[in-house]
Amino acid sequence: MASVTDFKENEIENDWCPGCGDFGILNSIQMALADLDVEPHNVGLFSGIGCSGKTPHYVKAYGVHTMHGRVLPTATGAKLANPGLEVIAVGGDGDGYGIGAGHFVNAGRRNLDMPYIVFDNEVYGLTKGQASPTLDLGEQTKSLPEPNINDNVNPIATALAAGYTWVGRSYAFDVQHLKRMVKEATLHKGAALLDVLQPCPTYNDLHDKDFYSESSVPATGMPRVYKLEEEDDYDPYVQDPSDEEEVNAKKAQAFTRSQEWGERIPIGNFYKIDLPTYGERLEGRLGEYGPENAPAVEDWHDDGEPTADIDDYLEEKTVW
């Protein structure tokens, strides 16, 4: 069994800014992986480009630091080709909800069994703090010359609309909660979106550690971030996926919560439903599909001799 230390890569120095929320996310992922009892070589950690994109380099596992906005398709390809791997996709909010938004929406439709963890710092960190798609209209971080001219996307609501079957949020500096969410998202059979509130002390002075968790909100006397699982009346889980009414109600409930942002910011699991995964659907189509029977399994040649039998197909085409 691999320990947290086994998942720490030492050949490269971590070059995030001191105090960056990314550290919390990195630790949580490493802790979750250790908890999940998976071997490092069976993990494929995929990322986009950005500060967040550097994450795989700090984890001792197969790490793929792809292109800006392209983490989802690349990770999807690996998971489809080898469903036995623990494939995890991570990336920035600009990466995922901006340049990658098309993949983000369409990955929901596939319901591939894979978690996607978004480092949501409301800025483009690595390019020096421009507004990312989650920064609200009119907000001005210290890195911006003018207040933000765009409205923000709501990642939770968008994920719900796009069909993610597990939708959650956590907070980079609540490492225990975050680890739990990473595990849940990973264990969930289907497409999981985990949006992580991630302070960027270098560029985002509006929504920092202080804002999220340290100073209390005057009106409530409580920290802003609260946990859905501690709410009595909140149950994200669809008991009966075939019950349209329940599905709609649970989705609507999640949608409503997703709009909450201000004095109280919910974290936790907003929505969860068990539906056939893309892998299961593929199995239906192909007859056989799974870790033992997938593209990465090298059963298609015998010491250099192709083993594919296309005789029938040729026969169909034979005219004389």
């Binding site: 480009i49 197969y62 292109m67 390809g77 080709a81 296309i310 040729l314």
Partner: protein, 635 residues
Amino acid sequence: MVGGPQGSGVDSAAQLFAQTVSRGGLNVWGQREYYSNIKGKHSYTKIRMSEDEIHSPVDRVHFLATYESETLARHVQDHRALVGGGGVLYDPSHTDETIADIRFMDHRVKADIAEEYGQPADEITIQQLLDDAAADGVRLFAFPYEELQKDIADELGMDDHNRLQILKNTMATAASIAMIEFGLEHLNETIDAIFGDKSDRIVEMNKVAAEHSAQYMRDNYEPFEHTIAPAEPDEERLFMQGTDAVALGKMVAGCRMQTYYPISPATDESVYLESKPGSDVVVVQTEDELSAVDMAIGAALTGARAATSTSGPGVNLMVEGLGFAGLCEVPLVLVDYQRGGPSTGMPTRTEQGDLQFALSLGNGEYPRLVLAPGDLDEMFHDTIDAFNLAERYQTPVLMLPDKDLAGNNHTVETFDVDEAEIDRGKLFDEDELAETEWRDDADRHPRFDTTEDGISPRSVIGQEGGIHWLTSDEHTEIGHITEDVVKREEIMEKRMEKIETAREEIPDDRMVRRVGPENAEVTFVTWGTPKGAVLDAMEVANEDGDLVNLVQIRVLSPFPNHVIDDVLDEATNAVSLENNYTSQLARLVREQLGRGFDHRAVKYNGRPIMQNEVLDIVDDVRKDAPDRIVLRGGI
């Protein structure tokens, strides 16, 4: 040739005819032309057939069958479409339609006809055109579809002959078959094959329609001058289109993951693979081409053989992924079925316009291989090669067929599957890797080890002991980001060296195919599809002498420098021949060798290069041709 509105079934007629004659033992070459449209616009298929091998279309046909006016207006009037002494099968019920009545025909064509006749378009009738053609020696075969349908309905015991519209295609085919005296036997066989799994009634309807139509022709017309008999050859022949050949090649090559986003003319390949779940190929329709290429890359990183297929506009969106694959040394196979460009261009027309793009797409520099198959057999075998080369040189391989090769049905000698071999290149096996102690950084397997030939042994995601990183940034041997000057130089040199290794390793006769007499007067140097027209032209031209030979460059990157240098040294008249505007191959040759061609023949109107056009070039070159020869044939 058969022509008619897209979606009206002309396609089925063409299929029926082509299958019939191929089942009758003939070699067949199809050329299907159609608009980017679902229903209504003009579409036609030319079918060449012969006991001998054929490899290209010609401009004029001997027999033309249709049931509507646009085909007649375009192909009869034109004089380009029919040989003198040819015949036209047509529906006499609407020959009083005028040119102006023809809904979808291009204004340009209408205007040209009007000018030729010196009359307004709304005064020129189809009948006029037919009469004119007859005066030129074309035989007219009026074929009263509706009346015949009534007879057929009677025989089938049906009240409403209108429900038999759908039989028009079989009727036209049967009438044509009757005229060329091929016999109905193979047509009935084909009807069984095509409709057999639908219902017996449908088979019966078609057979009755065929018999009636043939009988009508026999009863009403003198025998046609151009006939052809079935043959009984020994060898096996396949009948298929290019996308099928690639799909079959992928199956044999062990490709188990195919991603695609629908686009003409590439879609057919993926649809074919999808229709064969037994082949175990996971086919994924993605949200766009950015995703298609990246998914294939992700799959390739796990050791799977993965590929994607598209056409030019899709390649535009794959540039990013290809660069990543080049930098990270990912074996990736991309088939670009070229079509008329630029941009969306002419989606259903042919072109070879993407060569220079393929050679330099992506910011910065990385090695890539570019293959250009020129016929169905090469489509099949190049596909298998593509995967071997991709893994051997750990870099993207692009295959560049075109719409013409992709979407037309031809007969081809059955593929020699036994010839196929799998070469996975330098791939670590589990045992070797298991000895690596991954917990100890110093004892790790350096994925991008700097070797002499530029190729590093490779592990894939999931292999114990092979842990490494991949990044779109420049990287160290283990795959971590670096910006160090020395590491950058080392890794860049290692990466670029691979293309030199490939140039040395790939045999000359794999890179270049030479056909024909050594000291010909005219040497055609080409890539891809146009080679067929040269082969066919050679048959004719070399009847009385060593006039023409062919140099087909099958690997464009790495470029076979010394082979082509020799070719140009030896050639009396070197003519480049390609389906694009700027003679992209000729540009490449000059970039590589610093030397040019005597003539550059180009064609860029979206239609394939035809045998007769090549023969014209031969004539012209022997007299006095310009440096740049533009071919303008086609409808």
